[in-house]
């Protein structure tokens, strides 16, 4: 880690030899500001000003050459330019100083056009005084300026992706294609997340598992990617370029291949509902995960296993009940968190869910469609001739409407569900043309080209009935049939009853419970429960912690295409670190004088980036320490330090005081 080197007190400093160049800007300044007077005044006042000139255009090649020549011939060691806004030309003069062999930060660019001549074109005297004082502050600045250099920090050229849904798969693939080493860690025993469960995805009608498999087959071709399924993070430390992460690979208890897996699974006496199918099917205690697995082995759910030994007898040494978890410590430069979402689970009795057998959620219905045998849609032992979709279940909730006690209401819209439901209706119409479909909705949010799906569904016979938030539909059961009662303007605001064979609750996305990961990584969480990006408009995949990125539905609800974009975007941001052996960082960071530090810890608490910590520093004891790879140079810590021990490189407290004093100097006669 680079250090900011300060002049030690008492150390002889070479006396400042300053060159001042005041720009006319072809009249834009000199028409209102007496540039000759400005140049003369500061030269007269200050013995360290060796040369003070006024030039037609400071930024011209000729003028820059003149500065360079002066620096070299007159042995100038500081440069002050006074011209337009530093936003336009500060970089120009820093570059000129560099060409002259002067450290580029021993310069100051005073703003005397946008902040003197132009706003005070009505007051040439005032404009001249102000310009003079801005130049004085520049002189004060450079006098105590220190040479600075770009900070360098080593960068590990590898990335960890946490979460192996389509977002994480995409991110891993993009990074590998950019020749970056990737560790992909998935908690479940298989890859593909929720997408793997989908019977048909919008807008193309592909099976979710097909989308997953295409990505996984590309991943398999990438030697740069190491995949860990059934694994999780157990420790995390470090900072951008140098994170150290421990991954625990949980045991599968099946350690080797065998030709007899099918028999062994058949032999297992334990049977539980299969989560992947939302309980519509069953699995055994030893089972094959339903998505792509790495390694390609079944696993034993030890919590369910009765240790009857049936599988072991068939599989022999391939089963190892004493397989321990294995910890692996990995060094990575950045981490992408793409841990996804959870389906909203309606509360018991919410729109009849869990009480009326003909009420299911959309994810459950997706799985039901997978098991159709072509003879017609059936549920709960009867044929399904009509379906009611109820939108916004668990989304767009009013305050206090939360169905889970203690959790905040889901005030947000889940984004994908209108599109997904209408696509689902089209899918049903395609498979079972005679099924009547009713949609009870608040607003149909088929944004963008998804509108075409909506239009098509209307033509395919779907009936859309809008309800308002004040009159939500009621689901009841009479004579064994589910009824949806709704009051809607299209129905003359009368309560109308729709008996249907199946009610599909269109449930949204909710954030995933992941407390230990969130705490380990200090992930910021927004009011909607999803991860909070550092800037909602401009930096959707970045967090306050440099090198810690968020992607996919862990950040907000998204559809498949959008989540892939998000995964790629996070890969791009990770690559800005991972493609470099060394990170170059702006030198304007905070630094601590440990001799002055009272270890109050105030700066540690104030820093929004977690860049400061108290650590042992030799003879000084435990003092504040700034990780300059993490510091962004905002200076918030500077304001709270009781002893002025922490200051900002390139803008020290003494410099600030000197500049304020210089700005406050009264003109003679004023």
């Amino acid at each position: 880690m680079a250090k900011v080197v300060l002049d030690k007190p008492g150390e002889a400093k070479e006396p400042a030899r300053i060159g001042v160049y005041v720009c006319h800007c072809g009249g834009n300044i000199s028409d209102y500001v007496d540039v000759a007077k400005v140049a003369e005044t500061v030269a007269k006042e200050d013995g360290s000003v060796v040369v003070s000139k006024h030039l037609m255009f400071d930024c011209s090649d000729v003028a820059q050459q003149e500065m360079i020549d002066d620096i070299q011939k007159l042995k100038l060691n500081r440069l002050v330019t006074a011209a337009c806004s530093p936003k336009l030309h500060e970089a120009t003069f820093r570059a000129a100083a560099k060409r002259a062999g002067l450290n580029q930060y021993l310069t100051y660019h005073a703003n005397i056009r946008e902040q003197s001549s132009w706003p005070h074109s009505d007051d040439p005297h005032g404009a001249t005084e102000k310009a003079t004082s801005h130049v004085r502050s520049g002189i004060a600045y450079v006098k105590s300026a220190q040479p600075l250099d770009v900070l360098r920090s080593e960068s590990t050229q590898s990335v960890m992706v946490v979460g192996g849904g389509v977002t994480g798969l995409r991110a891993a693939l993009d990074l590998a294609r950019m020749n970056v080493r990737v560790y992909l860690v998935e908690k479940a025993p298989y890859l593909g997340g929720h997408v793997a469960e989908l019977a048909s995805t919008y807008p193309l009608g592909e099976k979710g598992i097909a989308i997953v498999q295409r990505l996984v087959s590309e991943i398999q071709e990438q030697p740069n990617i190491t995949v860990f399924t059934n694994a999780e993070l157990v420790s995390f430390k470090g900072y951008v370029g140098k994170f150290s992460v421990t991954v625990r690979m949980n045991p599968r208890y099946v350690v080797d291949r065998s030709p007899r897996f099918a028999e062994a699974i058949e032999a297992c006496p334990v049977q539980v509902p299969e989560e992947f199918d939302h309980g519509l099917t069953v699995r055994k205690a030893i089972y094959w995960p339903r998505g792509p697995t790495v390694p390609h082995l079944p696993l034993i759910d030890l919590g369910l296993c009765t240790r009857c030994g049936a599988c072991e007898r068939l599989l022999g040494k391939a089963v190892r009940f004493d397989q321990p978890p294995e910890n692996l410590e990995l060094q990575v430069g950045s981490v992408i968190v793409s841990t996804g979402f959870e389906d909203y689970t309606p509360a018991l009795g919410e729109y009849g869910y869990g009480e009326i057998p003909d009420v299911v959620t959309l994810p459950e219905f997706e799985r039901m469609l997978e098991f159709g045998d072509g003879s017609g849609l059936r549920h709960n032992g009867h044929a399904v001739g009509s379906i009611a979709y109820l939108y916004c279940v668990g989304s767009r909730q009013k305050p206090g409407e939360a169905t889970t006690p203690g959790s905040p209401a889901h005030a947000y819209c889940s984004r994908f569900c209108c599109n997904a439901t209408i696509h689902n209706a089209l899918d049903v119409s395609g498979r079972y043309p005679d099924v009547r479909l009713y949609h009870f909705y608040r607003d149909i949010r088929t944004y963008g080209r998804n509108e075409l799906l909506y239009e098509k569904a209307g033509r395919a016979g779907s009936i859309f009935v809008r309800y308002t938030e004040d009159h939500p539909p009621v689901v009841s059961q009479r004579d064994g049939t589910a009824h949806v009662t709704v009051q809607a303007s299209i129905l003359q605001n009368e309560a109308v009853d729709f008996p249907v064979d199946l009610v599909v609750l269109v449930t949204g996305m909710v954030s995933r419970e992941n407390r230990s990961l969130n705490e380990m990584l200090s992930l910021p969480i927004g009011p909607d429960g999803f991860y909070r990006e550092v800037h909602q408009k401009l930096r959707p995949v970045e967090t306050n912690t440099a090198g810690l990125l968020i992607a996919g539905t862990a950040q907000a609800p998204k559809d498949i295409r959008e989540t892939l974009y998000s995964g790629s975007a996070a890969a791009a941001k990770a690559a800005t670190f991972a493609l470099k052996k060394e990170l170059e960082l702006e030198p304007f960071v905070a630094f601590v004088d440990p001799a002055r530090c009272s270890a109050s810890g105030k700066c540690v608490a104030e820093c929004p980036y977690g860049a400061i910590e108290l650590r042992e520093q030799g003879d000084f004891g435990k003092k504040a320490w700034v990780n300059s790879a993490v510091c962004k140079g905002c200076g918030a810590c500077v304001a709270v330090c009781p002893t002025e021990a922490i200051q900002r490189a390139g803008f020290s407290n003494d410099q600030i005081r000197d500049m304020i004093r210089a700005l406050g100097v009264a003109e003679e006669g004023a």
Partner: protein
């Protein structure tokens, strides 16, 4: 009462990313405000130590305007809260030193808020002109 012919000087503390460009924008548009307003730019207004403000009043300034970023700060989401804390501390410090805290003001200036900036400078200038110069305690 204001001293006769008293010409107050105002120190504006701006921020690199947002309010300083806003002040530039006033200049580009030739929006006028008193030339007595001198500008010193900070990376972020949450860096301003209350003592800097006291130092300004002791260096000849009779008014200080903090041109903050408001919610647009590129560094800190809670920049307005942090800057408010600095200002509250500064108020206390000024009071303790016998300086009228109304000489210090803060306003969020966006990168194109030229009119708002000019208005705030003018208003502070006028207020400070009425208050007269800062008189050190015991003077």
């Amino acid at each position: 009462m204001a001293a006769a012919g008293f010409e107050p000087r105002i120190l504006v503390l701006s921020t690199n990313a947002i309010s300083d460009p806003g002040i530039d924008y006033a200049g580009s548009g030739h929006v006028h405000y008193p030339a007595a307003a001198r500008v010193l730019r900070f990376p972020c207004s949450s860096m301003i130590r209350p003592e800097f403000i006291l130092h300004a009043f002791r260096s000849g300034f009779s008014g200080v305007l903090i041109a903050a970023d408001g919610g647009d700060c590129p560094y800190l989401r809670d920049c307005p809260e942090r800057t408010s804390r600095r200002i509250n501390d500064a108020y206390a410090l000024l009071k303790a030193n016998g300086i009228d805290p109304s000489r210090l003001r803060m306003s969020g200036i966006c990168s194109v808020c030229s009119e708002a900036f000019a208005k705030h400078v003018k208003s502070l200038y006028e207020a400070v002109q009425k208050l007269g110069p800062v008189v050190p305690p015991g003077a």
